[in-house]
Amino acid sequence: MKKSKFFNLGLAAASIMLLASCSSVMNIASAAATVAGEQGLIDADIASSISSTASAISKAAEVITPEQEYYIGRAVAGTILENYKVYDSPNAQLYLNEICNTIAINSDMPVLYKGYYVAILDTDEVNAFATSGGHIMVSRGLISCATSEDSLAAVIAHEISHIQLQHSIKAIKSSRATDAILKTAGTALTLSDNAQAKEIVSGFGDTVNDIVSTMVESGYSQRQEFDADANALKLLAQAGYDPNAMDSMLQLLKSKEQGQTSGFAKTHPTPDARISNLKDSYKQYSGYTDKALRQARFEEVLRYL
């Protein structure tokens, strides 16, 4: 009798391991409950209840697929670009994309579903946006604050950090949006003219609205901005840029932002708060002295802006 129980438990444990590895979906709690129910170790109804509760705990940010992040990012970028004109300068655009890709390939997340791309927004407002699809949009007003390639890299590294830390996905609040992500993450969707398809497209719209209103109106949380700053220092160092350039950039932003009420002034913590948050972080990075090498090409590109 004892042996039989031992056998059941052993088989259940082995089955859990199989389930957990073969199907990457079910979390351990859910898998354990299912197997325990099947083995008769707990009541089948209780097993089912534990299983569905455990599944329901999964948040959109945890289950979202790279493809979903990409298509959400495209719609967010498209909404921003409906409101801002792109500044058409192939030379400046190439330069920013080179900086961005250098930082990305040296980071822990060198590839996204599609890639990292930078565009310049034709506005004097100090602003920048980054989508989960890898689209980074930086305003002419923000670029004009930079005095070196490294300070420009600091701006881009901050935006890449928002992407890699999934901040825009964490801005999704409405239940219709979350439901749509959870539903479409799991099934091969056939879009025909039916209620489910309409619901999914509405959910998609809600997702985009949640993200755009956070980016443009309320901003990310102070904690998220501080995390993006700290992560940016790491990205700069990994790519060979001087992390201290972040401090220079924030000092420049401080003077530029005075009296402004839109853009960064509205959606970001003050430069003073960001400077103070980072002040003890620079000492772990040292020995970055090649900035002068990059100054000539930076000044050359400035002529196009």
Binding site: A13, M26, L81, G186, A239, Y241
Partner: protein, 152 residues
């Protein structure tokens, strides 16, 4: 005797579970498989989103993989892979919904096409933005001339 049999069965099942965990899926739209662990290494071929591969070994942020269809062996950045089973366009769902809860047929091009009809979204500008692919040679030159990292 029965106990020994159980232990053997348990070990076998664990071994199978471990082997199964080495199967992964491509999580990027188009993955260039490299001949060595460098972004600028020669290409050994390309794989697409959802392609099934087997991880042979890992080194730093890179995984050595082999794929049978198409037949390619080489290196890929580990973050371009996922253990999540990915269901691509045109494939049918045959397993139960739980097993596919993380699969990848979500907010796709089809949803985008529907959404485009209803919203003020400038997809043309987004498409133009995505045309800014940088050739590896151009990026390598930029890195080297600026004394930055990653070109080695």
């Amino acid at each position: 005797m029965k106990r020994k049999l159980l232990v053997v069965l348990f070990v076998l099942l664990c071994g199978f579970a471990f082997a199964a965990s080495q199967v992964m899926y491509v999580a990027v739209e188009k993955a260039t498989i490299k001949s060595s662990t460098s972004f600028f290494a020669k290409s050994s071929g390309t794989l697409s989103y959802g392609d099934k591969i087997t991880v042979l070994s890992t080194k730093g942020n890179w995984s050595q993989i082999s794929s049978s269809s198409p037949a390619i062996t080489g290196w890929i950045q580990s973050t371009a892979l996922t253990k999540k089973q990915i269901v691509t366009q045109g494939s049918r769902v045959t397993a139960n919904a739980d097993e596919l809860a993380l699969a990848g047929k979500g907010f796709s091009a089809e949803v985008e096409a529907e959404y485009k009809k209803s919203g003020d979204v400038n997809y043309t500008a987004v498409d133009n933005m995505e045309k800014n692919e940088i050739e590896p040679e151009t990026l390598s030159k930029f890195i080297t001339s600026g004394s930055l990292k990653g070109a080695e």
